[in-house]
């Protein structure tokens, strides 16, 4: 089981979610985050004082999937979240040792 964590541009959520569902991802956690990366650091003015904006609003998606699904998921996100412009985001893959479904007590891949 793998945890796939991905940062995307907020307005891409709906498309990506659709693609992930199609790819068979059973569940998602979506968090509003502030992203810092290459797409940062422009200057704004507030009441006459300049300041640098370091953070950009992003969404973080997390999902746990069976190993076989990892590639399809990566592909789904890649294709849908991509605008080709700086700030599109990243995908990270981590290992997950155990999963439990609270409602039923199922564990492992059944629980995903």
């Amino acid at each position: 089981m793998k945890l796939i964590k991905s940062v995307i541009k907020p307005f891409k959520l709906e498309e990506v979610r659709q693609a992930l569902t199609d790819a068979g991802v059973p569940g998602l956690m979506v968090t509003e985050i502030k992203g810092y990366g290459r797409q940062s650091g422009h200057t704004e003015i507030y009441r006459g004082a300049e300041y640098e904006v370091h953070f950009v609003p992003k969404l973080k998606l997390e999902m746990v999937v069976v190993d076989d699904l990892v590639d399809a998921v990566i592909e789904a996100i890649r294709s849908k979240a991509k605008t080709g412009q700086i700030g599109d985001g990243k995908i990270f893959v981590q290992n997950v040792e155990q999963t439990i479904r609270i409602r039923t007590g199922e564990t492992g891949e059944d629980a995903i």
Binding site: Y46, R47, G48, A49
Partner: protein, 447 residues
């Protein structure tokens, strides 16, 4: 408020002397004498509730321009200061401001310096015309109600500048002194018939100086002694601290704009003749024009200078326009009102960064709006009112400024060295809502 003298002298003139004249006038279509009294009183009540509403305007404006972590505190300060002003102006302020000849120091003729002490007393219940304190003017209750709101306005100005770092109770103590003593004493000099009125012929219709600059000076003294918010000025740079809720700030500005019709319009002090009705109307129209001009000017200037319109500056611009027209909302033409208000807008766009350069941290821009534009407005009287003289305007500006600044500074200083006026550094970082009140403004939104 123009030519304010609650005229005990007048009231002493034998009634009969007036009666025939009045009867004649009435025949010519003028309102009956009692009607004038009723209309004047009603004008005060209507305009008074509009000025009351400004207290809500300040509260919303400030709640919108502080960070969420200080919002509950800012709201508490605004509700509290208005309440304290209401009590202390009754207890001390009103008679200090309007001694009606009973000056503690000075006289009506020479011009007074310190008014009378004693609580405000209204007319009795269900009075007949003979029992009116001044039948040619308005009911004392309506006058008190209206004047009180001005006093509270001066106090509201202070809370914005000092937001996000001042302790609650020391702030309230200062407000008590301001509304009981500082504001009424200097206001008596002009509106109570004191020496600025008598000796200088100072003109300040609705209080660009008497109300707004007073709030501004008191705020400035506090800001200097209190210091800037942590992190506002770092390595010679200004670090903007964004207001957390611009819809609230905008709402507050609209509320103030609305209330200002009462502020300026009611300062005509009369609605009982064709001339007064037309004058109040002029004032409403001019007041609106000045606000609009301040807003548009700030809009255009921020676009030109910063390349983007800055809403907070536009809001400040409208308010600066309003402050600027307050010293003389009657004599300008609509075109002059546009000029006067527009320059108010210019003043904030440059005044806000100017204060920052001095490292004076004014959270909501109250000093540029109320003090700088207040001075401008008081001088602008010279443009349209032939009765105004340069000396008659500038000297009172300086005297009032010196008095309010020095006394305020002393009071702030006494508070600082005694109970302290500033929250601890970590408390400030955690937010006053947590440390001073233990209550979040938006407990669910901010994790």
């Amino acid at each position: 408020m123009r030519k304010f003298l609650k005229s005990t002298s007048f009231a002493l003139v034998p009634f009969l002397l007036f009666s025939p004249a009045l009867a004649q006038e009435a025949a010519a279509g003028e309102p009956a004498e009692h009607t004038v009294f009723i209309l004047n009183s009603f004008l005060f009540l209507v305009c008074g509730f509009l000025v009351f509403w400004m207290a809500a305007g300040f509260a919303m404006l400030e709640a919108g321009l502080v960070r969420t972590k200080n919002t509950t505190t800012q709201l508490t300060k605004n509700v509290g200061l208005f309440s304290i002003a209401s009590i202390l102006y009754w207890l001390i302020g009103y008679n200090l401001m309007y001694p009606l000849g009973n000056w503690s120091i000075g006289t009506d003729e020479s011009g007074g310096y310190l008014g009378a002490f004693g609580v405000a007393i209204l007319e009795g219940v269900g009075i007949g015309a003979d029992d009116a304190d001044d039948l040619s003017y308005a009911s004392t209750g309506s006058d008190f109600f209206f004047q009180l709101m001005f006093c509270a306005t001066a106090a509201s100005i202070v809370s914005g500048t000092l937001a996000e770092r001042i302790k609650l109770w020391p702030f309230f103590i200062f407000i008590a002194v301001l509304t009981a003593l500082i504001y009424p004493i200097q206001a008596s000099w002009k509106w109570g018939g004191g020496f600025l009125d008598t000796q200088f012929g100072f003109l300040d219709f609705a209080g660009s100086t008497v109300v707004h600059s007073v709030g501004g000076w008191a705020a400035l003294a506090g800001a200097i002694l209190l210091g800037a918010r942590t992190g506002k000025y770092r390595n010679g740079q200004v670090i903007p601290i964004m207001g957390s809720n611009l819809p609230l700030a905008t709402l507050g500005t609209f509320v103030l704009w609305l209330g200002w019709f009462g502020f300026n319009g009611g300062s005509q002090l009369a609605l009982g003749s064709v001339g007064d009705a037309a004058d109040v109307s002029r004032i409403f129209a001019n007041t609106n024009m000045a606000a609009a001009a301040g807003a548009v000017t700030a809009m255009i200037l921020t676009q030109l200078i910063f390349k983007k319109v800055d809403l907070t500056m536009v809001l400040n611009g409208a308010l600066a326009g309003l402050v600027a027209i307050t010293a003389e909302p009657l004599t300008p033409s609509l075109f002059m009102a546009l000029i006067i208000g527009g320059i108010g807008g210019v003043i904030v766009v440059f005044g806000v960064p100017f204060l920052d350069r001095l490292k004076i941290d004014d959270v909501v821009g109250a000093i540029p709006v109320h003090l700088f534009a207040g001075i401008w407005g008081t001088l602008a009287v010279l443009l349209t009112n032939p009765d105004a003289t340069f000396v008659g305007q500038i000297v009172p500006i300086v005297i009032v400024g010196a008095f309010v600044f020095v006394v305020s500074y002393a009071v702030w200083y006494a508070l600082k060295v005694s109970i302290g006026i500033r929250v601890g550094a970590e408390d400030e970082v955690n937010g006053l809502d947590t440390t001073e009140l233990g209550m979040d403004a938006y407990p669910e939104f901010t994790t």
